[in-house]
C-alpha cells in the first residue's frame, strides 16, 4: 500500500508553508531519512525527510507553491506500479474535509481546557474565532496556571528573525522568571544601612584568617543563613494551602561570570561554620568563573542573596527562584550608602517579616 509523506509544521503560527525545494522526481527511488524537499515560512526553513524507503509515485506541489501543513506532499510505493489511494490521487488530500483545529485554535483550546467537539464550527476547520465566540457566549475563563514547567509559547514577532535554542542556564533563568510570574506573589521592600560595621567586621575576619578575597558578601550571606535558623518561616515556600518549611538551608548566591549569571548554591549551609561557609562560597565563585560548576552546585536553593554593589547601582529588584520565599538584594550606591532590599513571596512572608530580616541583616551578629 502506498505511503504518504506530509507537509511538515515549521512553527505553531503558520498553517501554510512555501515549497522552496524538491529534491526528487516521480519514479525516483528514495531511502528512509533522505531529504526530499524543503519548506519555508518567513521565520525558518525545514527539510522534509522521507520516512520510508520506496519509489516516488506522486508529488503534490511545485517550487513556490504554498501548501497546507499536514497535507500529503509525496506518495511513496514499494514499486512504481503501486496504486495511489483513490481519494488522494492528483492533488493533495483536502484537509478541509476534517474539522481539525488550527494550530492557534489548539493553543486556545488548551488555555481554556475545552474540547474541540463541543464548539460549533463555522468554517472548514475549527478556528480561533469559533472558540472566541464560544468563550464569549458561555463565559468560560482560562484555567489557572499551576505548573512551573517551562512551556513558553510566545507568538513569534512579525519582524524577520531566527529562533535560537536557549543554553541550559538561559532555560533555568526562563523557568525562574516564569515561576516568579505565575506562582509567587512577589513584593519588594528595602532599607538603607550604615556599611561601616559590616566592613570593619569583614576586615577583621579576613585578616584573622589571612584571606585573599574580601569575605564581606559571604559573611552577609552567612548572616542570612543564621537568620533562617532563627526564623524558620523565612526558609520556606507554599505547597497547596500549607507552608513548607525546609529542614536545611541551601543558600543561593548570584555570581556573574562573563555573560553568564549563575545562582550558585551552598548546600546545607546551616551545617557549616562561618569560615567553612566563606570558603565554600569562594569555591563556588571560582567554579563559576571557570564555568565548571556541577548540577548540585546550581540547584535547590531555599533562600537567596544577591549583590550588585560591584556595579554601584542604587537599587535592583531580583526575581525569586522557584520555591524560595526571599532573595536579599544588596548594593552600595555611588554615594556610599548601603541598601538592603528583598524580593519576597507574599504568600509566605509579610512586610513585617521582611523588615525584621533586613534590619537584623544590616549589622553583623552581635554575638560574633
Amino acid at each position: 500500500m502506498a505511503l504518504s509523506i506530509h507537509v511538515p509544521r515549521i512553527n505553531n503560527n503558520d498553517d501554510e508553508v512555501k515549497v522552496v525545494g524538491i529534491d526528487v522526481k516521480i519514479g525516483a527511488h528514495v531511502k528512509a531519512g533522505q531529504i526530499i524537499a524543503q519548506f519555508e515560512t518567513d521565520k525558518a526553513v525545514m527539510d522534509l525527510e522521507s520516512s520510508n524507503e520506496g519509489y516516488v509515485l506522486a508529488i503534490n506541489g511545485e517550487i513556490d507553491d504554498i501548501v497546507k501543513v499536514g497535507d500529503i506532499f509525496i506518495w511513496l510505493g514499494a514499486s512504481l506500479d503501486e496504486a495511489i489511494p483513490q481519494q488522494a490521487s492528483g492533488d493533495a488530500v483536502d484537509s478541509t474535509q476534517t474539522n481539525a483545529p488550527t494550530a492557534k485554535a489548539r493553543l486556545l483550546l488548551k488555555e481554556y481546557n475545552l474540547n474541540a467537539h463541543e464548539i460549533p464550527q463555522t468554517g472548514t476547520r475549527l478556528s480561533v474565532a469559533d472558540i472566541q465566540n464560544y468563550i464569549t457566549a458561555t463565559g468560560r475563563k482560562p484555567i489557572a496556571v499551576n505548573s512551573t514547567t517551562v512551556n513558553y509559547q510566545e507568538p513569534l514577532p512579525t519582524v524577520t528573525g531566527e529562533l535560537k535554542t536557549l543554553k541550559s542556564e538561559e532555560r533555568g533563568m526562563l523557568s525562574t522568571v516564569l515561576w516568579h510570574r505565575d506562582v509567587a506573589v512577589p513584593g519588594y521592600i528595602e532599607i538603607s544601612y550604615d556599611v561601616s560595621p559590616w566592613e570593619d567586621y569583614a576586615k577583621t575576619f579576613g585578616e584573622k584568617h589571612n584571606l585573599l578575597l574580601s569575605p564581606l558578601l559571604p559573611l552577609m550571606a552567612w548572616r542570612l543563613v543564621e537568620l533562617s535558623i532563627e526564623m524558620p518561616h523565612i526558609n520556606a515556600t507554599i505547597s497547596g494551602s500549607q507552608r513548607y518549611e525546609y529542614q536545611q538551608t541551601n543558600l543561593g548566591f548570584t555570581v556573574q561570570a562573563g555573560q553568564t549569571l549563575y545562582l550558585t548554591v551552598v548546600q546545607q549551609a546551616n551545617s557549616l561554620d562561618p569560615l567553612q561557609f566563606v570558603n565554600r562560597m569562594v569555591e563556588l565563585q571560582r567554579g563559576a568563573a571557570a564555568h565548571t560548576l556541577g548540577a548540585q552546585e546550581l540547584q535547590d536553593a531555599t533562600i537567596c542573596f544577591s549583590s550588585m554593589s560591584r556595579w554601584k547601582v542604587s537599587r535592583h529588584i531580583p526575581i525569586l527562584p522557584p520555591h524560595t520565599s526571599i532573595m536579599i538584594a544588596h548594593t552600595v550606591g555611588p554615594d556610599g550608602l548601603g541598601v538592603l532590599g528583598a524580593t519576597y513571596d507574599h504568600r509566605v512572608l509579610n512586610g513585617g517579616d521582611v523588615v525584621t530580616v533586613l534590619r537584623k541583616l544590616s549589622k553583623p551578629n552581635p554575638s560574633n
Binding site: N210, L212, L216, N279, R310
Partner: protein, 89 residues
C-alpha cells in the same frame, strides 16, 4: 608565556590593568609589591577573574588553602608562588 619572574609580573600587571579598566579604574601605577586587594583597584570578583586567568595561563591549580594574601596578595608574591609551584624557585 615565559616562566621568568619579571615576565610573569608583566603579564599579571597587564591582566590587572585589563580587569580594573572594566571596573572603571586605572591600575597602570600599580607596583609589584602593592597589596592588590588593599588598592581597591579590583574587587573580589575581579580577583577571582585574575586567579582564574592565572591558573589557566600557567596551567596549574591553586588549592583553596593556599588562596591567601601571603601567597597571592601582590604581583611579586603571585609570580614567586607560581615559580615555587613549578619547582623553579
Amino acid at each position: 608565556m615565559k616562566l621568568e619572574k619579571s615576565a610573569i609580573e608583566v603579564a599579571i600587571k597587564n591582566k590587572i590593568i585589563e580587569i580594573s579598566e572594566s571596573l572603571g579604574s586605572d591600575a597602570s601605577d600599580l607596583q609589584t609589591d602593592d597589596i592588590i586587594p588593599a588598592t581597591g583597584l579590583i574587587d573580589s570578583a575581579g580577583l577571582l577573574d585574575l586567579i582564574a586567568w592565572f591558573e589557566a595561563s600557567y596551567d596549574f591549580k591553586i588549592p583553596m588553602s593556599e588562596l591567601t594574601i601571603d601567597n597571592l596578595g601582590t604581583i611579586s608574591a603571585m609570580a614567586e608562588y607560581l615559580l615555587r609551584s613549578k619547582n623553579l624557585m
